[in-house]
Symmetry: none
DNA sequence: AATGAATGAGAGTTCATTCAT
DNA sequence: CATGAATGAACTCTCATTCAT
C-alpha cells in the first residue's frame, strides 16, 4: 500500500471516527443536547477538523441518516430481488428485515426513523446530502411500492392506491417497533415483538390480499 | 362580579394565554426550538410577565403536561368507575377514551406522551410541578392496573404480573396512536385507527383472558 | 389617642418595619445581594408599599445610614458638650463612645462606616436624603474638629491642620474597629479592642499634645 | 522564536490583557458593579473570547486573587527563609513586606484582602481555582505561623496558641493598612504608615516576646 | 394608602461557525 | 490538512421600578 493510499485511508478513518462519535452521542441524547464540542472531544479531533469533513451540524446528522439508510436499503433490496417469492412473503420478509435492522443497529434507529419528528432545521435546509437522504428514503418506499405493484399484477393483491398503502405499511412497522423501542416489556406475557409485527401485518394484509370465498375472518 | 374577582379572573386568563401560546409552539416545533421570546411574543406579554407566572422554561412545559394529563385522567376515571361493566370492557373503553383524547386534544399529545423522549432537563430537575406530573402519570397507570386486578379477582383474567401488563397495555395504545399520529393514512384501505386499536387489543387480550374450552382463535 | 393619630403612628411603624428588615438584610449580605423583594417579604409589605415609603433602593440605604448616624451623633454630642473636661479626654471619650456604638449597634456598622467603600451609585446619585447624610457625616467630623480647635486654643494641643487631623483621627478609630470587626481574635493574647484603641490613640496623640520637657512616654 | 512559540505567547498575552482589564475594573468599582461587557470592551475582545479564557465571572475574580496572592507569597517566602535572623525580626520584616506589597500592587489589595468581605458566590462555589486560592491563603498563614513556632522553640517567644496569634497578627497588619487605604492622610502629622505598623507591632509583640527582667519598653 | 402584576433593559452564559496560523 | 482561538448573536433569567386598580 502506497503512502498516498494510506493517507487517503487515514482520512476516511478520521471522517468515520467523527461520524461514530456523533452517532453514539445523537443516539443517546438527541440532536439539540449534543454540541459540536462534545463530538470533537469524543472523536479526538479539533473543531476545525470537524468542519473540514462536515459542513455543519445538520450535515453530520444527515450523514448519519444516510449511513443508516444505506444499511437498511441494502438489506431490503436483497429481499425484493428474491426470485420465486410471492409478493406477500416479500412484504413479510421486509418487515422481518426491518425488525432485524432495529435489533442490530439500534444506534441508527432514532436517527433514521424517517417519519419521526426531525429537527426543524433539517426540514428547511436543503443541502446536497439533504437531497441525497430524501431521495434515498423516497426510493426505499418506492422499492416497497414495487412489491405491491408486482402483487397486483400477478393477482395476489386487490387494486389499490399503492403509494398510500406503502406509506401506511411502513408506518405500521415503524410504529410497532417504536412501541417496543420505548418499553421493552412486550414479551412479559409471551408476545414478543417479532410475533406482534407478524400478527399486525396479518390484520393489515387482510385488507389487501385477494380473498378466496372460503376464507373467513371473524372479529 | 366584583372588581377584585374580575382582576383575579384576568390574571388566570393571562396565565392561560401564555400557556396556550406555549402549547401551540411546543406542539409544532418542540421544546428546544422554542425560545421564551417566541412564547411571550405570541402571548403578547413581556419577558418579565412570563417569569412572573412560570418559574422557567421547564416549568411551563411541565405545566402543559400537567394540564394535558388532567384531561386524560378525568376521562379514564369515569370509565373505571362505571358500574356493572366487565373488566375487559373497561380496558377496551379506556383504549377508546385514549383514542378520543388523542383526537380531541391533539395539541397535548406530543407533550404528555408519557413514554416519549422528554428533554433531558425535564428528567433531572425535580421541582414541585415536576413531582406532581410524575405522581399523576404514575397514578394513571395505577388506575389501569386496578382494572386488571379487579378482572383477576372476578375470574375474568388469568393471574399475571399486573404492573408489567399495565405498562405493556399502555405502551401498545401509545404506539398505535403514534402510528396514526405520524402518518394519518391508515384509513386509506378502510382500516381506521379505532378499529386497528380494537383488533390489536383483541390480540393482546387473548393472552390474558381466561378461555372457555369452546373459544377458539385461529390465526 | 384619636383614630387619625393611631393611623399616623401605624404608618410610621410600617416605615420602620421596612427599614428594620432592610437593615438586617443589608448588614448580613451587602447592598448588591439584597433585592427589593427580599426586603418587602421580610417586612411583610408589598412592592408598592416599599416604593411609597422609599424612592428607590439607594434611598433606603441612605436612610439606614441616616438613622445609624443619628444615634452616633447623639452620643458624640453628649461627650463634646461635657463641662470641665480636657480636650484630650474628650477625644478619648469620643473614641470610647464610637467603640460602644460598634458594640451596641453592630447592624449599622457596615452601613454607616463613612469612609468605607460605598456602592458606586450612592456616591453619584444626589437625592435629598443623600445630601442630608453627607451633611450629617460632615458635621460629625466638624464636631470632632471643634474639640481639636478648642484644645489648641486652650493650649493643650500644638498648632496643626485641624481638618486633616480630624479625618486621620476618625480613620484610625474606624480602622482599628474594623480590625476587630473582621477577626474577633484580638483578645487571644489578652489585648482587647478597647485597650488597643486606647494605646493606638496614645501613640497618635503623642504627636499633637504639647509636650512638657519633663514628659516621657511610658507604657 | 518559532511561530508556534509566538502564538502561545500571544495567547498568554491575551489572557493577561483580559485579566488586567478585569483587575483595574474590579479594583475601581467592585465585583457587582462590573459586568462582563465592561471587561471585554476594555480588553478589546469579544464575549466568547472572555469565556474561552475564563469559565465565568467568579473564576476571573479568583484568578486575580490567585495572581495577587502569588506575588505576596513570593515576597514573604523570601523573608522567612532568611538565615541568621531572629523570629521577631522576621515578623517585623513580614509586616514591612506586606506594607510594600500594598504600596506596589495597590490594584490587588481589595481583591486579595483575605479577610475582607468577599462576594457571597465566591464563598459558596467550589471550583478548581477556588480551592487553589483557599489553599494558598491558608498556606500563607501557615508560613507565618511557622515563624512563631520557630520563635517559641528558640526561646524568643512565650508559649501561645500559635494559630490564633497568627490570625491576629495578620488581621492587625491588614487593619492598619486598610486604615491608610481608606484615608491616606496619616502622614499629615508626620506619622507614616510604615511607622504606625512598626509601633502597633511593638505593642502587640510586647505580649508575646519573652521579657528579660531588665527589659524595658521605651520609645 | 396599598397592592402586586407588568415591564424591559440588561445580566451572565452558550455554542455553531469562521479563519489566521 | 489541521488547529483551536475568536466571534457575537441568541439564549435563559433577574430585578429595580411603574402604574392601574
Amino acid at each position: 500500500m502506497s503512502i498516498r493510499a494510506r493517507t487517503i485511508e487515514a482520512k476516511q478513518q478520521k471522517r468515520q471516527k467523527i461520524l461514530d462519535a456523533a452517532k453514539e452521542l445523537f443516539f443517546n441524547k438527541g440532536y439539540y443536547v449534543i454540541g459540536i464540542d462534545m463530538i470533537t472531544e469524543k472523536a479526538g479531533v479539533s473543531t476545525g477538523t470537524f468542519y473540514h469533513y462536515y459542513k455543519n451540524k445538520i450535515e453530520i446528522y444527515k450523514s448519519l441518516q444516510n449511513e443508516g439508510l444505506d444499511i437498511l436499503v441494502d438489506s431490503i433490496m436483497k429481499v425484493i430481488s428474491l426470485p420465486r417469492t410471492s409478493s406477500l412473503t416479500k412484504l413479510k420478509e421486509i418487515a422481518r428485515v426491518y425488525f432485524r435492522y432495529y435489533n442490530d443497529h439500534r444506534e441508527y434507529f432514532d436517527i433514521i426513523s424517517i417519519l419521526s419528528a426531525t429537527p426543524d432545521e433539517l426540514k428547511e435546509t436543503q443541502t446536497e446530502i439533504s437531497r441525497i437522504v430524501d431521495r434515498k428514503a423516497h426510493s426505499l418506499l418506492k422499492m416497497i411500492e414495487s412489491v405491491l405493484i408486482e402483487g397486483i399484477e400477478n393477482g395476489e393483491f386487490v387494486s389499490m392506491n399503492t403509494w398510500k398503502v406503502t406509506n401506511m405499511f411502513w408506518g405500521l412497522m415503524d410504529g410497532l417497533i417504536l412501541l417496543e423501542h420505548r418499553n421493552n416489556t412486550l414479551n412479559v406475557i409471551g408476545v414478543d415483538l417479532e410475533d406482534l409485527i407478524k400478527q399486525a401485518l396479518e390484520i393489515t394484509f387482510f385488507g389487501i390480499v385477494k380473498h378466496k370465498p372460503s376464507e373467513n375472518r371473524k372479529k
